[in-house]
């Protein structure tokens, strides 16, 4: 007996017709590889007739054919996969990979499973160190830009300046759930009790949890309350000059125009 494992099965369906799943995609790949339905059928271990029927089912799924059989009739000639067919193969594998990632979370047996974490594994992952799930409190529209005010925690609001076009394209409105992304090097740090008098719209107080030094840079992680942490990368010189170490109270400063918004 192997480990209990959760697997997701992906299938495409169009117009209520038969489903296109892993086996048919594999057959389509074999056609692309061998350039012939006969050889593709042999490669995946099914009869010519079964392959022909399966490939036609794939063709029925798409607005344009996924494969085309060259003249020579049903039993002769070659076959090739169209650009639409190749795109279908690629999309199928991408989705399969994402699904596998999501089901791995379930398989890991961590309980309870956060449905947001599960969904996030389906979507894009980014290199930005700071990703905050927020609710849109307000939108101030300008000519080209818009300022989006986000609720991060009960205590903290974030400001993001993005283009008007992005607000439209992403369908952002008051109450929308968005993810705010901030690269760690965009985050400046300031010491001192008083709130810094700088133009940066985002001024968040926090306590240093950890400092990790490299030869040039220092990575500083802050506890900003409400169970949230914020990571900043500053030069090692600055980290030393400000005597940054665990427990020190600091202000995290970043410009509103440095906040990227993502929606699911």
């Amino acid at each position: 007996m192997g480990e209990p494992r959760v697997e997701a099965v992906l299938a495409f369906r169009g117009g209520g017709r038969s489903m296109v799943g892993h086996d048919r995609i594999r057959l389509l790949e074999a056609v692309a590889l061998h350039g012939s339905i006969t050889k593709a059928a042999q490669a995946v271990g099914i009869s010519y007739k079964a392959a022909w029927d399966a490939l036609n089912a794939v063709n029925n799924l798409l607005p344009r054919p996924a494969f085309s059989a060259q003249t020579g009739g049903r039993h002769g000639g070659g076959a090739s996969v169209t650009p639409d067919g190749l795109a279908l193969i690629k999309a199928f594998h991408l989705l399969e990979e994402r699904l596998a990632r999501a089901t791995a979370v379930l398989s890991a047996g961590e309980s309870p499973v956060d449905p947001h974490v599960l969904l996030r594994s389906l979507g894009m992952r980014t290199s930005a160190r700071n990703a905050f799930r927020c609710t849109v409190d307000a939108i101030v529209t300008g000519g080209v830009n818009a300022e989006v005010v986000l609720r991060l925690t009960d205590e903290i609001q974030l400001a993001a300046v993005i283009t008007q076009a992005s607000v439209r394209d992403l369908g952002i409105e008051e109450g929308s759930e968005v993810t705010a992304l901030i690269k760690a090097p965009f985050v400046m740090l300031a010491t001192g009790e008083a709130e810094p008098t700088v133009s940066a719209r985002n001024r968040i107080p926090g306590t240093i949890l950890a400092r990790e030094d490299g030869p040039v840079s220092s990575e500083i992680t802050l506890d900003i309350g409400g169970g949230k942490t914020l990571t900043s990368v500053v030069t090692w010189d600055s980290a030393d000059r400000l005597a940054l170490s665990a427990g020190v109270r600091v202000w995290a400063l970043f410009k509103a125009s440095h906040v990227i918004l993502a929606v699911d």
Partner: protein, 67 residues
């Protein structure tokens, strides 16, 4: 306030152009001009006006170099 940014250039505001959301602020730094784009709200918060002594703060990771 001590700031982690390595570059704080002292100068005087010579121009402010306000849009609806974003404002352009030009700062004269010893004969050279640094242009900053900040939010209108920040201009109001800091009560910025022409002739004010300010610092143009630029994180070292944000400075491009051309040759």
């Amino acid at each position: 306030m001590k700031l982690s940014a390595r570059n704080a250039l002292k100068g005087k505001i010579i121009e402010i152009v306000k849009g609806q959301v974003v404002a352009k602020v030009k700062v004269d730094i010893g004969g050279q001009t640094v242009t900053s784009m900040i939010s209108v709200e920040a201009v109001d918060d800091l009560a910025l006006k022409i002739g004010d002594d300010v610092q143009a703060i630029i994180k070292s990771s944000e400075v491009m170099i051309g040759k």
